[in-house]
Amino acid sequence: MYDVVVIGGGPAGMAAALKARELVDKVAIVERSDYLGGILPQCIHNGFGLQYLKEDLTGPEFANYLAEKVKNEDIDLLLGEHVEGLKKAGNFKIQLIRGKIESKSVIFATGAKEKTRYMINIPGDRPSGVMTAGTAQAFLDMHGYLPGKKVIILGSGDIGLITARRLAMEGAEVLGVYEILPYPSGLPRNIVQCLQDYDIPLFLNHTILEIKGKKRVEKVLVGEIKDGEIVKREWVDCDTVIIAAGLVPNNKLLIKMGAEMDPSTGGPVVNEYLETSIKGAFSCGNSLVINDIVDYAVIQGEIAGRSAALYAKGEIQNRKFNCIKVGNGVKFVVPQMVSGEEDVELIMRVSEPMDIAKIRVGDEIKTLRFLKPNSMIFFKLKREKLGDAKAEVQ
């Protein structure tokens, strides 16, 4: 019998297991691939760990930092494993490929999936050469193959920008990054070091309308969008289309178990212990909410790890939770429920860019500058300031 089983061996899962292990004895990580680290090993650029480790590392190094700690602890590593079934009957009964395990609590650190061409509905032919940014990155940086020579990138999030730079670095011609929104979704520093450094144009208010090609991509129809209307169309010759249209939290197991989900985050509804509506089941990392940077996923992992261990020890008892109401200008708030018994740090996103805004949660008001939907806001709230538990932009 385990105290805590963590599903997913990425950064959030490793951080969760490490934190849990400080408080309880029997901890395991179930990971489907045969190594720890999740997606980090293929992110070979620097910029990881500045907040959490105060060091500028690459993805593989950040993953290594946690993986080495995990390996030095008495934590069972069930690699190359897969959760086939999960039931809660008092404890959690987990069916794996190679057998059954049982645990007092479970942490879901199952990460996210990339949106595919079919999830964003790009019509046209189905030739080779259309792939997600993560696939392109795996081709190039895990296996050493350049996935295309004349490339168009759809989506200006950090993943799209970073993939654009890597392809340009290795000699591909990157014709442009196309973004349907009027502003780029990635971090300002990535606009500079990924696009400007490599003279890659950014087309705002643009999207791909159609893909053409018999065997390989031959051309795409790009359109300029204004007020929801296509105002200009143009065919662009290329051999590769990279879809970098965002991530979707991966919560198949939790949904199957009937956990309450938040449509605005794609993750489960959680309280400040990062506990889902299923008692003893916790969530962290990108399966909870799509994070801007890995450091945040790790911090959530630590919270979930601590909470799950306390639950296993019977220390988190039934508390009453209030729902945080999402008001004007706010896209989501995580956690969605708070007990009011502890100070809490809320994660929020605004729904539109704002130069300056007063954000109110309960009785606490903060004036924040240069808010963008793509950068998370962290809002510390003292328990006595919970007030009406409403979050809004004033």
Binding site: I44, H45, N46, D56, T58, Q193
Partner: protein
Amino acid sequence: MKITMTCIYCPIGCTLDVEIKDGRIIVKGNRCPKGCEYARQEVTDPKRIFFTVMRVDGEEYKVAAVRSVAPLPKTEIKKLNEKFAKKYLNKNTKVRDKIANIHGVDIIVTRI
């Protein structure tokens, strides 16, 4: 001369107003000392961390990842990429091993 730039040191990405006056570089808009450092470097000799992948002896479908431990001149990054694309790493190489030195900056293995 006045230049506006974005600091690339951390995810905040401060907008920096840089003024070059009588050979002095005045930086405004930085929220931390790193921003000032970045702006001075950027107007005199822009540098970036160099990273790439390298083939490994005897491996067909796997590459190793490497990076420079300190930034290198931006104008040389492309050339370095081409140079490292032709090199092979010994398969006994380990993470953190130094495999080259460019202008006094070590290139280390980050994944193998």
